[in-house]
């Protein structure tokens, strides 16, 4: 695989992560525990949709075949999406979606920081903008995790369960495949081993603060980066793409 193809695949994966997570967050609109949290969630989802658009537009330019952000989002089949399995997991309750965000965003923030040094200027620029957004997400979300972990007995139990259930999806974030390796070596992208060490330190600190236990590492789920999804994904994509598929070629 040459370095250009690797970068294209990498940027598309970044778009896929942002889109899938944004879509899951959108499902929660009008279902939040408090009005102020509705506003916060909407901001986060808007950030993710915005990042998906930026990454897909960049991918379209890298590819050079005239594909638009919407072509990437609405006209690719399931196995062409290469998002992390963690992000396509269903929402569950507030603790579940929060745990998912914290587990992912600690990794994503570090990934974006590294990408601000990417040798492709467009990617570096998008990463710089996204980094600011995710910095704010982390501030909000990690503090919520602490509130739930160190809140009531019920919230502690629930969010511990959330972290336990989602833990097996965290390994995939640090599994370096050929694309990750080429982007690291040829484009100045992040080293996933280093990111894993940093992530472990970060998540440990937060879990301690939240009075939560770190789950044991069991088998880690894998396959999203290769387009092999969980059964949830088909439904997510079908719903999202419905109108474009039902009206091929129409303009909206």
């Amino acid at each position: 695989m040459n370095k250009e193809s690797a970068l294209l695949a990498y940027v598309t994966r970044l778009g896929d992560n942002a889109l899938v997570l944004g879509q899951r967050m959108i499902e929660l609109v009008a279902a939040y525990p408090e009005l102020e949290e509705e506003l916060a969630n909407a901001n986060f989802a808007l950030d993710y949709i915005g990042q998906a658009r930026m990454f897909y537009t960049c991918a379209g330019e890298l590819e050079g075949k005239g594909r638009s952000e919407d072509d990437f989002a609405f006209l690719r089949d399931e196995n062409e999406f290469r998002n992390l399995l963690l992000l396509e997991q269903p929402n569950g309750h507030f603790g579940d979606s929060l745990a998912k965000l914290v587990l992912f965003e600690l990794f994503y923030f570090a990934q974006l920081q590294a990408l601000t040094g990417c040798e492709d200027a467009r990617v570096a620029e998008i990463a710089a903008r996204a980094e600011k957004e995710i910095r704010y997400h982390l501030r909000h979300n990690t503090q919520w995790l602490v509130r739930l972990g160190d809140g009531t007995e019920e919230s502690h139990r629930r969010v511990q369960e959330s972290v336990n259930e989602l833990w097996r999806f965290t390994g995939e974030m640090f599994e370096a495949d050929e694309i990750d390796t080429i982007v690291e070596k040829a484009w100045g992208g992040p080293n996933l081993e280093q990111l894993r060490e940093r992530w472990l330190a970060d998540i440990n600190a937060i879990l301690i603060n939240a009075t939560l236990d770190k789950p044991e590492d069991g088998g880690m789920a894998s396959g999203g980066k290769a387009g092999r999804h969980t059964e949830h994904f088909g439904y997510l994509i079908a719903e999202m793409q419905y109108l474009q598929r039902a009206h091929p070629g129409a303009s909206w």
């Binding site: 408090e34 506003l39 909000h140 503090q143 509130r147």
Partner: protein, 95 residues
Amino acid sequence: MSEKEWPLYEVFIRSKSGLSHRHAGSIHAADDQMALDAARDTYTRRSEGVSIWVVRSSQIVASDPAETAAFFEPAEDKIYRHPTFYDMPDGVENL
């Protein structure tokens, strides 16, 4: 309703550097950090702010509207506090 509410906070926003903070409204939050986040999300989505103050509403000390007359009217007849009260003679400058 038996559930205890999150406290009410008043929100003050400085819209740009050089201006003072102005009262924008209120939000409910469980603690100070949440209050800042909520104020930011509610009142600065369209880049309306560079600085936010949040204060627990219970901490605001306000003048009593029933005492408005006694509180504010006595200032009205002390017009000598205004520079326009003073007629300066012609010919003198820089006063």
